[in-house]
Symmetry: C2
Subunit: 326 residues, 2 copies
């Protein structure tokens, strides 16, 4: 990020920087990006970064040189390497690299999608923050995204009624027909309050919020006593240059004894292997559907991020680092 974004990131705010990597030290390995992740949080984080800071993000990469026998050449590694084509890393460093796990028959790209950070966000965010119980009603927005689509499917596995919101009719078809959501609405075309009255006549027990803003305020009016909110993202605000003004709703939180938990998945990192195993089992049993929107070429990451913030993806938005010069 050459220049800190103001509002919607401009392509001219970015610069590609080439650097000469030093020779490997003992314990290090060099890897080459295969797929890079584009996620809403990257925009949010960038708002707090100084000009010239590399964009953050996870990727799955091929190890092409190694001085660590646990990370041998030819294997795939997943790590928070940022928007880089080549990275020198080592076990236990801040990018938290780990060997790509068993992919349960899915492509490598799913290691940064359904079986990676977004999948883990859905898994731990829903199960830890919302603690859904069978028979409860779960609302999720950004429902066709990499996180939302998995949240809804796990909630179904838990025996909940699931209401999702997305912004395109094709996404809605996918969520209804393949992912098993009970109700899905196009938030651009519906009266949110009315759809909740219809689809959640007994109120909302769990709200997995990726959006914030007036969407959230409207859902709050339908929360049941002891409702739980996982505040996973606030995508409605990331391109704002000043905070949106919303009606205060703390009174609802008191009288309904609502719990809201801000959630950021990195805190659960040590529990990922177990969760990936459980999710892999669900995939094999056909309980978790997988979709991704793949963009070709590292150079297209800035545009891919803008498209993501615009909701142009269905499922995980991913960039294949396939330009010839890499």
């Amino acid at each position: 990020m050459a220049k800190r974004f103001q509002g919607v990131p401009k392509l001219s705010d970015y610069a590609i920087k080439e650097e000469q990597l030093p020779p490997l030290k003992d314990g290090e390995f060099l890897c080459k990006a295969e797929y890079l992740s584009v996620d809403p949080y990257q925009r949010a984080y960038a708002g707090r970064m100084a000009d010239g800071t590399p964009m953050i993000g996870s990727q799955v990469a091929e190890i092409i040189e190694s001085k660590d026998k646990d990370f041998p050449v030819g294997k795939r590694v997943v790590g928070n390497f940022g928007w880089r084509t080549h990275t020198i890393s080592k076990s236990g460093d801040s990018s938290e690299p780990y060997l790509m796990p068993d992919m349960a028959g899915l492509p490598n790209s799913a290691s940064i999608g359904l079986l990676g950070m977004p999948g883990m966000t859905a898994y731990f965010g829903l199960l830890e923050c919302c603690q859904p119980k069978a028979g409860e009603t779960v609302v999720v927005n950004g429902a066709a995204g990499a996180v939302g689509s998995v949240v809804g499917q796990i909630a179904k596995i838990m025996g909940c009624r699931v209401i999702g919101y997305a912004g395109e009719d094709s996404k809605i078809e996918w969520l209804k027909n393949e992912c098993g959501f009970d109700h899905v609405f196009n938030y651009k075309k519906c009266d949110l309050d009315k759809t909740l009255k219809e689809a959640a006549p007994n109120g909302v027990d769990c709200f997995f919020d990726n959006v914030g803003g007036m969407f959230a305020v409207t859902v709050y009016q339908h929360l049941n006593h002891f409702a739980r909110i996982c505040q996973c993202g606030v995508i409605s605000s990331y391109n704002n240059t000043k905070p949106a003004m919303v009606p205060e709703t703390l009174g609802i939180f008191v009288f309904k004894e609502v719990t809201l938990k801000g959630f950021y998945v990195s805190r659960t990192f040590k529990q990922w292997p177990e969760a990936i195993k459980e999710m892999g089992q669900w995939i094999k049993e056909g309980k978790l559907k997988f979709k991704e929107t793949v963009v070709e070429g590292f150079d297209n990451m800035p545009q891919a991020l803008n498209d993501l913030l615009d909701g142009k993806n269905t499922g995980k938005m991913i960039v294949k680092a396939s330009v010839s010069k890499l």
Copy 2:
């Protein structure tokens, strides 16, 4: 409440209604109010009640007739009897009556203050929702009230640094000199943001919020990672005729992984005896100071509630049901 309040309750919105009580049935007892509680939540609740609904609230009352040997004549009973001078009640009914516990040397009125609902709100709200740890920084507003003053003192007992906000210099002196708060500010005279920078240079870990509105929004800017908020009340909003507009702050909740819990003390009712015992011990050890603002006369409850919402009390606001006709 004869007529539902619009904004600040008017005395003409109330009516005193006399009714003939039926003879006692087996298991019932008749009690006569000694002290009645005036609390901010009563205003909030009234906003949802129909015209003609009796005002809710707790009181300590003398049993003057009884057909239950566990509630004998002459004993004091604490219950959610509402704004009534005389009440027929029975063990286990919805008013949840219980015999006044050992008062640790305090007057009977403290059974609906420090050792009653407000004290329990402070105890469980702070300990369960905020989970303060020694060395952490706790912020409480409405700090000179029946709840806030106890929150700060329990936080001190837990080894925390305590920053309080109140609206009168005499309250501030009391909190600093007697209750042991580390910092106390007059929110009407200070720049809240500046005082937090000064008094909480390392950020805020626990926020016990009785106020909401822009006060809360400002404190959010100073929260530490994994901060916990007990949303106990929203006194800034109770007399609003429409919701206040505030900047959206959900982004802070995500990136700081903040937990906010709406809290209403009745859920902890079964744990009160143990907590009253522990608080009684702290009182005997001189660790918990007690103050109340006593208003004479049942007829003055409406004015007492308005005065409470105006912050005219220090410590617990209480009405002595002492007019001769009672």
